[in-house]
């Protein structure tokens, strides 16, 4: 039972355009959400997070939107740069169990 889903395995965008990565969740006990970026042969690195009491958080080129009623969050990267090419993971923290659950990831390719 996949509690955190990233339905797009891959995404390709042109440099300078917007990248939108999506994530859906099923567990209503999730109250904190994070996005991680992962390069090959490295551990994931933190990108941005959002608490369930907010609907938007922005950090430079990265913005995360949370729609609690739809159990959906998205990561916007604008403008996209070739160095953004990586696998992006969505993660959610469960306040009932303390688990940190990850999605399956989306491979973003930013074309120069």
């Amino acid at each position: 039972d996949q509690q955190v889903k990233q339905n797009s395995p891959s995404l390709s965008v042109q440099e300078g355009r917007i990248s939108i990565l999506n994530c859906d969740y099923t567990n209503s006990m999730f109250d904190y959400f994070l996005w991680y970026k992962k390069y090959p042969a490295e551990g994931p690195t933190f990108l941005i997070s959002i608490s369930s009491i907010k609907d938007k958080n922005e950090d430079g080129r990265f913005t995360v939107f949370l729609n609690k009623s739809a159990k959906h969050l998205s990561l916007h990267i604008v403008p996209s740069q070739p160095g953004d090419s990586a696998v992006y993971f969505c993660a959610a923290s469960d306040r009932a169990t303390n688990k940190l659950i990850f999605g399956t990831g989306t491979l973003l390719a930013v074309q120069p």
Binding site: L34, Y36, S49, N98, K99, T104, G105
Partner: protein
Amino acid sequence: NAGVTQTPKFRILKIGQSMTLQCAQDMNHNYMYWYRQDPGMGLKLIYYSVGAGITDKGEVPNGYNVSRSTTEDFPLRLELAAPSQTSVYFCASSENRVNTEAFFGQGTRLTVV
């Protein structure tokens, strides 16, 4: 400040052998996690700990054991290795559950043959 350190980086095991993957963090974090990442798949939570002496099962705990005798260390034990345990293993730590990110180690690539 080394962050999260995992050893070894690579290991080949024969079926039925046992081994311990080491994980240490120097950030005085309470929460620690073990994940595995299979090819083309996401990160699956194996075990986690919210403090010394406390451990809990994650999504895929079968075939593994953990202990948390100190805040710094969170070793993952594989007993009777099986080919299905071939994966990349990541250890992570965080200060607490919310409003803080988890820091990851570089990973251990394990092959069971």
